[in-house]
């Protein structure tokens, strides 16, 4: 368990929030970075930098080792069967596009169905829409109830013999609700479809076991889990990755290239064309070390506590409505809400004026906004380094919003 004295020590490792007059509650957008992560990336460039996977001299070997060690850490962190099942990308968005272009355009045909939940981030919606438009496949909408729950009946209705891909987030970036990927993957596999899980919001906040959930693909971004921006990962089952065409073509993703004949590299390097983001990978590896030094379960437990505390206080503010389930047990680290008569951008601006950073808008999930009958919303999202005092500050500012806008 993380106690308050630990928190002060932990916060002191985050230069951007340590001792600053800011309550940073936009962690679902990106987290702040601890010194150990910043130092690891710097150390890589100071001591081990060469172009990985290329040179035969000692420095290049070291660069390759650092890069591949990071891959092994990612694999272990999500319990992949083998490091070769981890492809480094820029972020979850690029990972999903990789799957859509390589697997989607390669394996999907006219009349096939791709089932996507209505609560997806645009990153797990637009690539599938593209695949459908180009192949003549049909995009099927898996709906949720207003609480964000996807029922078994809905899965039975929408996943059938024609379904070839099922794409669902493991944790909604708006509703803060977990989806049981294991249950959905089972349905997908019953009809021979592959399961694509978006782990951008789940991997930073709960233990992930890709073998247990049996997802065929899982994607996430480093920057939402304390590492630098510009590094992310794609997990894919090896036999599926082996059977896919490359996404980008160029340097370092080949075995041999002749005018008439090309042999691509094995996975994962087949999907890592061009000079890789080795500093970013090292940064992600250091972020995983940092998370593991605290414990992912303890991190998640504290974030859940902060979420419950915030929701309990929000319920007492007149004119503020929580989006999705009213039960705090259904929220992990994310509370989305609306303020009667006040546009979310005004809410975020008033809070921002008092140093409270929250997100306002459609959160890149416009189909979900349409489904819920909302135009836009405000969102507070917590990391374990947040405190109850910060939640109190947020609540205090939020309580004043309607009054400041002239409403009683």
């Amino acid at each position: 368990m993380i106690n308050e004295s630990d928190i002060n020590r932990i916060r002191s490792q985050f230069p951007l929030i340590s001792g600053k007059d800011i309550a940073y509650l936009d962690n679902a957008a990106t987290t702040q970075k601890p010194l150990c992560v910043l130092d690891a990336e710097r150390k890589y460039y100071e001591e081990s930098n060469a172009n990985p996977l290329r040179g035969v001299y000692e420095l290049s070997t070291r660069a390759t080792e650092e890069f591949e060690n990071a891959r092994a850490k990612v694999a272990r962190f999500i319990n992949a069967a083998d490091p070769s099942e981890i492809v480094f990308t820029r972020n979850a968005t690029e990972s999903l596009n990789l799957i859509a272009f390589s697997y989607g355009l390669g394996k999907i045909h006219e009349g096939d169905e791709i089932a996507v939940s209505v609560m997806e981030h645009h990153s797990n919606f637009l690539p599938w829409k593209m695949v459908c438009e180009r192949t003549g496949a049909i995009l099927v909408k898996i709906e949720c109830d207003p609480e964000g729950n996807i029922t078994d009946e809905e899965l039975d209705r929408k996943i059938g013999d024609k379904t070839k891909i099922v794409a669902v987030t493991a944790l909604s970036n708006v509703l803060g609700r977990k989806n049981d990927i294991k249950r959905i993957a089972k349905k997908a596999h019953e009809v021979g479809a592959v399961m694509v899980a978006d782990g951008a919001q789940s991997v930073p906040h709960m233990g992930t076991d890709v073998q247990d959930m049996d997802a065929d693909f899982l994607v996430f971004s480093g920057h939402k889990m304390y590492s630098a921006m510009g590094i992310g990962a794609l997990y894919g089952k090896k036999k599926i990755l082996d059977d896919m065409d490359p996404f980008l073509r160029g340097g370092e993703m080949i075995e041999t290239v002749h005018w008439d004949k090309v042999r691509y590299a094995q996975v994962p390097h087949k999907f890592e064309a061009g000079t890789v983001n080795a500093g970013g990978a090292v940064s992600l590896g250091a972020a995983i070390d940092f998370i593991e030094s605290i414990g992912i379960n303890d991190i998640g437990a504290r974030e859940h506590e902060l979420t419950k505390y915030a929701m309990r206080l929000i319920k007492d503010i007149p004119g503020v409505q929580i989006v999705g389930s009213k039960d705090p047990e259904d929220h992990l680290g994310i509370v989305t809400f609306t303020v009667d008569d006040v546009h979310p951008h005004d809410v975020a601006d008033i809070l921002g004026n008092e140093g409270v950073c929250i997100r306002a808008g459609h959160h890149c999930a416009q189909p979900l906004m349409d489904h819920l009958g909302l135009k836009s919303t405000s969102r507070a999202s917590f990391a374990f380094y947040n405190t109850k005092e910060e939640v109190d500050r947020f609540i205090d500012s939020l309580s004043k919003v309607r009054g400041l806008m002239g409403y009683k």
């Binding site: 546009h343 601006d349 008033i350 459609h362 806008m405």
Partner: protein, 147 residues
Amino acid sequence: MAENGSFYNEVLTDHNMHPMHKHDLEGATCACDGVNPSCGDEITLQLKIEDGIIKDGAFSGDGCAISQASVDIMLEMIIGRTTEEARHYAHLFFRMIKGEATPEEIEELEEAGALEDISHMPARVKCAVLGWHTLEDMLDKAIEDNG
């Protein structure tokens, strides 16, 4: 800054809560949509222009208080004015938002001067100028249409 420490002063909140020109305009001679894709603010501006004079105007739409109040204040200023005067006000408004307007020019903008603080808030500039840009687009289009 308003007394409460935010820039949401009384002029702004009043126009947001009780807009005078948020309705459908019968007999409008032109209409134009304005969208601010990063925020989702959207308005439709309608004007009734006769002999180069803006006889009446109205808007509809959805967005933050700044976008909605700004267009309401704008309509209040330009109704009864010539299109050239409206363009002049738009010019002054853009100068104010860029932080380039003189105190006399801000004075000339009357109630729209209440949005002066937006010049220090880059994230809200697009909200404040949405109505005014839509007005400019509409007047440009009206000239093209007439020839």
